[in-house]
């Protein structure tokens, strides 16, 4: 093979590989961005998780063969799945669907400790004191739709409250007077995100046809007040004000002049 031939075929092969690679790249970009995917407990942040997960399924195996199996209507509930194409989660990565298979929050966290790569890690199930427990997992957060939640209509329910493994911490019941009847009470479920693990037991238990309480990944649902708003009555929260940026100028053509100039513009001072 002479040099010209060699160069030509090398360029052809490179070009073909780049064409094929860009098709793969486009598919990967589409497939990896599934923000509604619920991850097992102890998962790293989604971006890091996708780098670190090798898609071996040891977590799924550990989940399927765990000790506290849960049988409903004669069928064992499977929580974790490894995403196959068409599952609406990045291919090969573990996920769960809260409505049909919520996380039962095993105390020994078999899925977390099965992970060989650290994509699931006990580090992500810690409280402020550094204690590891499944109660500190942050798989997601429960969100209530008041329009379809029958407790908001005035009906007696509390199914989610009673199903919650963090009862009275993650979901509490708020009593309010029912003005419509004048003699009954609303018993309304309220989710407290700081205690909610996102296990999905509430969504699983919800009695409405489509669940009125659903679990979403925390990044999707939770907002962020930013440094400008602090709880003045909370000493700890007030410390955040130290981080607040002082660089908050809005620059418009008027900003070129000084404040005094702007105030006095158009005023004719008599000597």
């Amino acid at each position: 093979m002479d040099r010209r031939n060699f160069l030509t075929s090398a360029i052809q092969a490179t070009a073909t590989a780049v064409v094929a690679g860009s098709v793969v790249g486009a598919f990967v970009e589409e497939n990896k961005n599934k923000p509604l995917t619920l991850r097992p407990p102890g998962a790293l942040k989604e971006e890091e998780f996708l780098k670190t997960c090798i898609r071996c399924g040891l977590c799924v195996e550990a989940c399927k063969n765990r000790e506290n199996k849960f049988v409903e209507d004669g069928k064992e509930i499977q929580t974790l799945f490894l995403a196959a194409p068409g599952d609406n989660a990045p291919i090969g990565t573990p996920y769960f669907i809260a409505r049909t298979g919520p996380c039962f929050m095993c105390d020994n966290m078999p899925c977390v400790y099965a992970c060989p790569t650290g994509a699931l890690t006990p580090e992500m199930c810690k409280n402020e004191k550094g204690e590891v427990s499944i109660d500190y997992a942050k798989m997601g957060v429960a969100v209530i739709d008041p329009s379809s939640c029958i407790a908001f209509w005035g009906l007696q329910c509390t199914a989610c409250y009673r199903a919650c493994p963090e009862m009275d911490k993650a979901i509490t019941i708020e009593w309010k007077k029912n003005e419509r009847t004048g003699k009954h009470a609303y018993r309304i479920p309220v989710v407290h995100e700081e205690a909610c693990t996102g296990c999905g037991m509430c969504e699983h238990a919800c009695v409405t046809e489509k669940p009125a309480i659903k679990v979403f990944p925390r990044d999707v649902f939770l907002g962020k007040a930013g440094d400008r708003y602090v709880k003045g009555w909370d000493k700890k929260d007030e410390e955040r004000i130290k981080n607040a940026s002082t660089n908050t100028k809005t620059i418009t053509p008027r900003s070129k002049k000084s404040a005094i100039q702007n105030l006095n513009e158009g005023v004719n001072w008599d000597d």
Binding site: K51, L58, G86
Partner: protein, 279 residues
């Protein structure tokens, strides 16, 4: 001697591995858990696909000790012993592409190629590098999203989904578009194992004295560019790095001119291995 003993043994190892993955999930057996990207043997020994780990390094992941040990075990195993044996003895996609090759032999003539095959054999090495760069760009192991090996093993051990579409596409591609298209031209995992096993010990040895130049081996070989420079030309080990040690050439040879032997260790009579070049 059984006629197709290597073929039968290969199918047994391939199906056994798939069955062990399946039984880990469904019966809770802890013999071999996971799939071909990463598995745990006897619940202790980690085994990791070196190409998957390499992609993760490019993607910028923190690599755990499990992955490093697992990848080193695999590299040592195939580097010393197996060569590209992974492709023909372990990988389940080989069963699909072998079936496609059989269909092709029954339906096609050599001249019926839609794409000329020899020129693009090197494509996989370029693809391997491009996918590594792509992993760095997209920030995740890119090939793992489309790997039919991963899809196949996960389909058996976990759930199928639409994985069968991709596997069917590979079958059709191999059977009707390009001879040995996937395994012999595209698959970057195979390319990785070619490199890892380039100096491996177990190799096929060709004895020129016995060869009658019938061409059966060249016809059956999925990577016949490794055979063609040697068959009936010289007595030598098949040193081409793309040889998968599948042993089909040995089985079809009626003259006993081919056999498995140990490179570097067993000196063959009349051997002319001037040097072992990486192709």
């Amino acid at each position: 001697m059984i006629k197709n003993k290597y073929l039968i043994l290969r199918r047994i190892t391939q199906i056994t591995i798939l069955f062990l993955y399946f039984s880990a999930t469904y019966f809770g057996w802890k013999i071999l858990v996971g799939n071909l990207s990463f598995s745990k043997l006897f619940n202790t020994i980690p085994l990791a696909d070196p190409y998957a780990v390499l992609q993760m390094i490019f993607a910028g992941a923190v690599i755990s000790s499990n992955l490093i040990i697992g990848a080193l075990i695999i590299i040592a195993f195939y580097g010393i012993i197996g060569g590209r044996a992974y492709c023909s003895w372990v990988c389940p996609v080989n069963m699909i592409t072998d079936l496609a090759a059989w269909v092709r032999r029954k339906t096609h003539h050599e001249k019926d190629n839609l794409i000329s095959a020899i020129k693009i054999r090197k494509f996989r090495y370029f693809f391997l590098v491009v996918l590594l760069i792509l992993s760095a760009i997209v920030g995740t192991a890119a090939f793992e999203f489309i790997s039919p090996i991963g899809l196949f093993t996960r389909a058996i051990a976990f759930s199928v989904g639409f994985a069968w579409v991709w596997l069917l596409a590979i079958f059709l591609f191999d059977a009707f578009i390009l001879r040995n298209g996937w395994c012999g031209h595209i698959c970057p995992v195979g390319a990785m194992y070619s490199v890892i096993g380039s100096k491996s010990i177990i190799r096929v040895y060709h004895d020129k004295e016995k060869c009658t130049n019938c061409g059966s081996c060249l016809e059956i070989c999925p990577e016949n560019q490794v055979l063609s420079p040697i068959i009936h030309k010289k007595s030598s080990f098949i040193n081409g790095i793309e040889c998968t040690n599948c042993g089909r050439c040995i089985e079809v040879c009626n003259d006993n001119a081919l056999k498995f032997s140990l490179r570097y260790i067993i000196k063959q009579k009349g051997e002319e291995n001037e040097k072992i070049n990486a192709n």
